[in-house]
Amino acid sequence: MELHKFICINCPLGCSLQVEVEGADIISISGNTCKRGEVYARNEVTNPVRVVTSTIKVIGGEQGVVSVKTKDPVPKDKIAACMEEIKKITVKAPVHIKDVAAKNIAGTKTEVVVTKEVREI
């Protein structure tokens, strides 16, 4: 049996959540004050995901870098691999919000999209 501990992020209470896991099954969730804590704990154990945001190089733009994000949240353990690939991306100005800068980033089937308008100079 494995014991996972988290701080709940749903409100300033910040409950210390404990999840007992046996193989792929959740045995118990404790420490939460409300239902939202339980749902959060369940997700954090079974499939913790995050949206990765960063910047990529822009050539010939008003600014040297432009902000990007993964279109969908990626598994937490893929964040480092995503960053490695994101760092290598270069785009040419102009770029627009929702422009796709990379596809299937680090094998996550998620696109990296531009989040800011950068005009050409």
Binding site: T55, K57, Q63
Partner: protein, 452 residues
């Protein structure tokens, strides 16, 4: 001198939302003055996501959130001047500004909305002994360098202060390859959002050292390290707890202060607690026709609340402009007895009638550090007014008490309240009018009585 109905100082989230709202409330001649080369303000450097959950029911990054408003401003053809620094606002609402293409110029506005945002508390406000080497940045400066200019400020980082920008930068610097050694916080709790503590520190194994501060800065040309010490309950370093950490970069995330140089010079009364202008229910400052919203009024934790507040400021400024037009001196012709006619001016109504002037003061007490607005006119107020406030420290199992004079009107139970989370209560006009005599409304945090 050019004339505008409304001049908005600042093109960040507050200024943009205020402009859009004023236009939708029928104001034609609006001008937004922005210091930077683009609209959007600080949102442009806040590339992380989590903005707009309240406003758009989706999680946007800062630049995307700003873009929604920028597109709307363009669609509504609201005039904006970029690279424009406002130098002065007079109580008569004459705005003096300067930019590279127009030089120095003056604008007469019927109403002004202050939306200048806030500034970070600098190192000078902290009194940390040591040299002044390169490598010490406010967290927001580092954020701009990394996210807009594309430069990394350093490789080994310590962050002092656990405000949200500090937490966000701990993650950002880590993702860009720096080693973030610790986030030190003077208080026994963090003022940052729980979500940021988990997703920016815990996710990357960065330690949050509560009740710790930087007591010494090492290095002459470039920062070489800092000394960290634990502090007692009064915030004094405890001898013997010092620990040296080598680092080339120290980021400060030690609070934000509304940027009110222009307001002060204009003679607007500031609230010593918020450090922003004192306002009434219409978000009008003590200077008639000058309104305020966003972080220049009080520092918010969510941009959604800034947009909401700015929308109100835009609406109230529009109302003011329309009312002052309606009450402008009108030339009337009066028939004289012997057929002569005389031209006279109708009485100037800009001095408001007595019932509109009567104001109730809101008083923050035991545990409440401030309220916005600071005063309410029962005659002018809409059906409901949202009063935003913050608590001074963490309270468990407490209640928010609202008192009309001595009489308790509302008691709202709360499991927890923290200084980092802005709170609000609603006051209704109907309720206020039941008590025509009251002069003050007090808001206090009370221990919850155990039920027998």
């Amino acid at each position: 001198m050019t004339d505008y109905e409304l001049v908005i100082i600042g093109g960040g989230p507050a200024g943009l939302a205020a402009g859009i709202s004023a236009r939708k409330n029928g104001i034609e001649r609006i001008l937004i003055l922005e210091r930077d080369k683009e609209l959007g303000g600080i949102l442009n450097q806040c590339i992380h996501n989590g903005f707009g959950l309240h406003t758009f029911q989706e999680e946007l990054t800062g630049p995307e959130y700003a873009d929604r408003y920028i597109q709307e401003v363009r669609k509504l053809r609201i005039e904006c001047r970029l690279n424009t620094m406002v130098l002065d606002i007079s109580p008569e609402r004459k705005v003096t500004a300067v930019n590279p293409s127009d030089g120095m110029f003056e604008i007469q506005a019927q109403a002004v909305i202050l939306a200048m945002g806030c500034r970070e508390r600098p190192r000078g406000a902290l009194n940390i002994p040591g040299y002044r080497p390169a490598g010490i940045f406010s967290a927001g400066t580092a954020q701009r360098l990394v996210n807009i200019e594309g430069y990394m400020p350093g490789k080994e980082v310590v962050i002092l202060g656990s405000g949200d920008i500090g937490l966000i930068m701990a993650r950002r610097m880590t993702l860009e390859g720096a080693s973030v050694k610790a986030v030190a916080e003077l208080m026994p709790y963090s003022s940052g959002l729980k979500r940021n503590i988990v997703q920016c520190l815990d996710d990357y194994g960065i330690p949050l050292m509560l009740s710790h501060t930087v007591v010494r800065i090492w290095g002459k040309e470039r920062l070489e390290g800092i000394t960290l010490a634990e502090v007692d309950e009064k915030g004094r370093p405890i001898p013997g707890t010092e620990e040296e950490i080598s680092c080339d970069t120290l980021l400060l995330s030690v609070g934000l202060i509304p940027e009110n140089e222009l307001s002060k010079d204009c003679g607007i009364v500031l609230d010593p607690s918020t450090k922003g202008p004192e306002v009434n229910e219409s978000l009008e400052t003590t200077s008639e026709g000058i309104f305020a919203c966003g972080n220049v009024l009080h520092v918010h934790d969510l941009v959604d609340y800034v947009s909401e507040e700015a929308e109100l400021a835009g609406k109230y400024a529009a109302q003011y402009i329309k009312e002052s037009k309606a009450s402008q001196p009108v030339e009337c012709i009066k028939e004289g007895k012997n057929g002569q006619s005389a031209v006279y001016r109708k009485e100037d109504k800009s001095s408001r009638p007595a019932e509109l002037i009567r104001e109730i003061r809101l008083i923050p007490e035991s545990g409440v550090s401030y309220t916005v607005p600071q005063k309410i006119s029962p005659a002018r107020m809409p059906e409901q007014v949202t009063v935003r406030f913050r608590v001074r420290s963490i309270f468990h199992r407490c209640s928010v008490g609202v008192y009309f004079g001595e009489r308790c009107i509302v008691q709202k139970k709360r499991l927890i309240m923290a200084p980092g989370e802005m709170e609000s209560i609603m006051l209704s006009r109907e309720k206020l009018r039941e008590f025509p005599e009251i002069k003050t409304i007090t808001i206090r945090i009370e221990e919850q009585m155990e039920e027998a």
